[in-house]
């Protein structure tokens, strides 16, 4: 009995932020000290959806996150395969290098990169931001994929080869199929990390590239609760959806990610 109460309390706490955002975002004329909103409206929501900045932020953020996820997978896959399956000299060093971005704060990375990209003409471009986002995402994708590779049995590939399959066929029908769960998790991480980047986008985008975190930050500093509520909802919607869909895979693989340390 007590346990179920705790369970429901836990769910309530987890859902609380969402409820908070909905309450503020969709209410009107809700002033202190009313404990609950009494009048509802979708006008704030409507305005946000028609606001060009919000739409640009949504579009750019989504575009960047998707590109980053794909690129991240592409780059991480070969690296992860080698790290997971082979032993070689300097393996420790490679791991160290790969995990360095998780230790160096985005602040320092962003500042230094800002200067470099200014010189390369990449500052303020989507491409530049995509590149910058790769830095925090690659460690996670490499690690996720390499743990899967560590448990991967190459013999399946050898069998397929013996049965006459071409390398391309092997790759698509054997390798990718077997790696699908961890590919999903890796994509999820890359997407989430890129989607929620604030500092890197700000420093590299230089104010020309707007994503939802940047808008949310501005709204939070401004203080109109309705706007904050709506912006927050827009911001958490994709992550919540993506996590809901991949929840099962995550439960299985989530712990390994924590264990990278």
């Amino acid at each position: 009995m007590l346990k179920t109460t705790f369970r429901y309390l836990l769910y309530l706490i987890l859902l609380a932020p969402l409820l908070l955002f909905i309450a503020y975002g969709f209410s009107t004329r809700w002033f202190f000290p009313a404990p609950f909103p009494t009048e509802w409206t979708i006008s704030t929501f409507d305005r946000a959806l028609n606001d060009s900045r919000t739409l640009t932020g949504l579009r750019d953020g989504l575009t960047i996150a998707v590109i980053v996820s794909l690129l991240s997978l592409l780059l991480a896959f070969p690296a992860a395969r080698v790290m997971g399956l082979r032993q070689f000299k300097g393996r420790q060093l490679a791991w160290l290098l790969f995990f360095l971005p998780t230790v160096v704060p985005p602040l320092a990375i962003g500042m230094g990169l800002n200067i470099l990209f200014l010189q390369l003409g990449l500052a303020g471009t989507i491409f530049g931001v995509v590149l910058a986002h790769l830095i925090p995402t690659l460690p996670y994708t490499i690690f996720t994929l390499s743990s899967a590779f560590a448990r991967y049995d190459e013999n399946f590939e050898h069998q397929a080869l013996a049965l006459g399959a071409s390398p391309l066929q092997i790759f698509f029908n054997v390798t990718l199929r077997m790696m699908t769960p961890s590919l999903v998790v890796a994509t999820l991480f890359a997407f989430l990390i890129s989607w929620s980047q604030y500092l890197l986008t700000l420093l590299i985008g230089g104010g020309k590239i707007i994503t939802l975190p940047i808008l949310l930050f501005a709204a939070a500093s401004g203080g109109n609760p309705s706007t904050i509520g709506i912006q927050s909802l827009l911001f958490v919607l994709p992550p919540v959806l993506v996590i809901a869909f991949t929840a099962r895979e995550l439960m299985r693989h989530g712990n390994e990610i924590r264990e990278q340390f």
């Binding site: 609380a16 932020p17 955002f21 602040l107 320092a108 230094g112 200067i115 975190p213 939070a220 992550p239």
Partner: protein
């Protein structure tokens, strides 16, 4: 790219700002930033205070949560952590503002219960000078992460120890103190160090939940970096590099602990 960015950061801290053609290497920025009257020290103290308190609180609660969960087995904490992922720090900080500000939801509930009559009677919990909001945020946010670490250790331990102790008459707190804590200490410490480093070096949350003075160290660094006076950028770089050095040091120690645990 990472290496290049660090190199450029160091270069600029030493005074080479190509944008305005300044290229005389000097330690001027270092001296300015570390001067005894510079805001650096105040921010450093503030950041240390916030990071340590939040880390300690999060660890303590994570330990309790993990022990409790270990006795009541379900998948719920993995679920909680995954759900936690959907709410990045920025959004959670925003939620805290809506909830804890003087005209926020908690204040309204207090008013409707008759506890207060005006907004300024409600304590300043966010955007406050002591970093209470920031500490609260990070404590709550990092508990799932640390709890999972502890849980992983607990679940891999042979249950024998605990049962034997119970048989020998040890009560819950004694078991916690003499058995559980030594078991999880290395992993928890290692994880806590990482959390500390993360909190110490993050910008978004202190920027939203903090005030103009004292500022968290990363906020100070960015302020300098974005200063219209381009020469101030060097100072921002200096602070940023110091933050990086601290975090890397902490990470190295954490790794060493991790390795020792496996021996």
């Amino acid at each position: 790219m990472l290496g290049a960015s660090l190199l450029y950061a160091i270069a600029e801290s030493l005074g080479i700002i190509s944008v305005i053609g300044q290229s005389d290497v000097s330690f001027r920025a270092y001296r300015a930033a570390l001067a005894t009257d510079s805001e650096f020290w105040v921010s450093l103290a503030f950041s240390l205070w916030v990071s340590m308190t939040a880390t300690l609180l999060a660890s303590a609660f994570a330990l309790l949560v993990a022990v409790w969960l270990n006795h009541h087995r379900t998948q719920s904490d993995t679920l909680a952590l995954n759900w936690n992922l959907a709410f990045p720090h920025l959004v959670f900080a925003t939620a805290l503002i809506l909830f804890l500000s003087q005209s926020g939801l908690l204040a309204r509930w207090a008013a409707s219960l008759g506890l207060i009559t005006s907004t300024d009677q409600f304590p300043v919990l966010v955007r406050d000078r002591y970093g209470i909001g920031i500490i609260l945020h990070y404590t709550i946010k990092e508990i799932p992460f640390l709890a999972l670490i502890v849980l992983a250790v607990l679940r891999s331990q042979p249950i024998g120890y605990d049962v034997v102790a119970q048989n020998l008459g040890a009560n819950r707190w004694q078991r916690l103190h003499y058995i559980t804590i030594p078991q999880v200490a290395p992993a928890l410490l290692s994880g806590s160090l990482l959390v500390f480093g993360f909190i110490f070096s993050s910008y978004e949350v202190p920027a939203i939940l903090g005030v103009g003075y004292p500022r968290a160290l990363p906020v100070l660094a960015l302020r300098f970096f974005l200063d219209p006076d381009l020469r101030a950028r060097s100072e921002g770089m200096v602070i940023s590099l110091i933050i990086t050095a601290v975090v890397m040091l902490v990470a190295v120690v954490s790794l060493r602990l991790e390795r020792r645990k496996d021996e």
